[in-house]
Symmetry: C2
Subunit: 284 residues, 2 copies
């Protein structure tokens, strides 16, 4: 029997707790405010932006959205971010990825103060994870830990992460170490991913290739957490061949409905956490 690791009930629990925290903030006349900065038009980005605005409204978080000219220079972008960052009524800032080719996403992000960096992409927030002092963590990585928490795995459990980006693989590796996992990170240069994968109890895949993970990567004891979001015709597929793995592995996240809904919610949680932190700061 394969356990299906649904993300929606976890996301719903997070949303319920966020509503309570937002009510508490509003009793002190504070409304959490997330500011999304987009550069140039991009249909996929705008779809996600609309989803964030809806989700924010549901929780009581104001979500603003600004689209900057696609030809903006780095210096002008930097100034614009600094201007937004100085606003006391803005608690969280997120730069929508991708940026036009002439702009470096991570360089742009460094202009966000770490305590408003709800995407967890500044050096400080990344480093705080390494120092076991998690504050605003990248939402995708955090949602994997939320999914796994429900399984109550023993300390030392082995996890393989196929992804080494600062968005998923690296922060997740450090977060899993913080939770006593034994962690391996592999990537496109790794020689024998299948054998590493079969020797790991947990497999986290963020490759971006539909049906990449089939039975040859897993055993009957594998727990598969699928971070892939791959458009295939009119639908979304993960990295795993769900039909092939379901009924065979120990547990698997569906796509959609697994990691995705939690990730979207954790950006809101980071916004609320940032707001709470800033309200403490302003109290001195």
């Amino acid at each position: 029997m394969t356990e299906i690791l649904n993300g929606t009930p976890i996301a719903d629990r997070v949303i319920a707790s966020l509503k309570t925290r937002v009510e508490e903030l509003k009793r002190h006349d504070i409304e959490p405010h997330l500011f999304l900065v987009q550069v140039g038009r991009n249909e996929a980005v705008e779809t996600y932006v609309r989803a964030k605005i809806r989700r924010g409204a549901k929780i009581g978080i104001r979500v603003s959205h600004q689209i900057l000219d696609e030809n903006i220079t780095y210096d002008d972008l930097k100034e614009e971010i600094a201007r937004i960052a100085r606003r006391d009524d803005v608690n969280g800032i997120m730069i929508e990825n991708p940026l036009p080719k002439h702009l470096d996403f991570f360089k742009a992000v460094e202009n966000i103060p770490y305590y408003k960096d709800v995407d967890g992409m500044t050096p400080t927030n990344q480093g705080m994870i390494n120092l076991r002092n998690e504050f605003l963590t990248p939402a995708t990585a955090a949602s994997v830990t939320e999914i796994l928490q429900g399984m109550n795995l023993p300390a030392g459990t082995t996890a393989l992460i196929i992804n080494r980006s600062p968005v998923v693989g690296r922060p997740l590796a450090m977060m899993l170490l913080n939770r006593d996992y034994t962690v391996t990170v592999c990537h496109s240069k790794t020689k024998d991913i299948k054998s590493l994968s079969r020797n790991s109890e947990v497999l986290v895949t963020a490759v971006g290739v539909p049906n990449f993970i089939d039975r040859s990567f897993v055993t009957e004891n594998s727990i598969v957490v699928d971070v892939g979001i791959n458009p295939v015709q009119d639908t979304i597929r993960g990295d795993a061949n769900y039909e092939d793995l379901f009924g065979y592995v120990r547990a698997i996240t569906p796509v959609p409905g697994g990691v995705g809904p939690i990730t979207a919610t954790l950006i809101m949680e980071n916004t609320v956490r940032a707001t709470e932190f800033q309200s403490t700061l302003s109290k001195g």
Copy 2:
């Protein structure tokens, strides 16, 4: 035939290049200045401090040393570090570990500006490694990458690190990912370190137990990098049983004479790098 991975020739090359860089700085009337902050007396710490002063003198780096009262409060320590950090003539600051029990080392370190944090222990410097933008990296982790660089191993090579601290294991894991290794981090909660170890091409051990690593952890293809510095009677031993492994594994670092000499030198390199960076800043 086991290759002996001596650190001294690598350290000597680094020292030679540092001398040239320091001469260049001195031509602009800049003398790199490393400031060591110690809290309470500690014989072992003071032995290392004297070694740093000697090494600095050899390269042309001024090394200052201040011993604060062991009962200093956190707030007073914070103020003292801030006072040192504001000095334009201080380029690098290092808080000697361990601190007395009432003080938190990592909290203390956060008061050092990242560009003077030559120990690589601030969140910013840790996070910059994750973001593939290495600046001032922890010296021990960096010295392991220096040792391995000489072996020209192919991309994807598997490395097991037995240590998950922010001093060694975590930054090293990220630095090895930056260099295309496939990286596993394990620790005291890991169930079968021996089998992970035998399946890895590189084994980095920082356990602090003499003779912990014997032949049961390795194969004839293992490359053993021994970070352990364990006093045994009047001598220093690594984590590896060198006599047992020598002649069997592919390569091994001796202790002393392996990672140690490079680590001591890389703290000096970080001081020079910090000085160069600050001189660029002051030029505007």
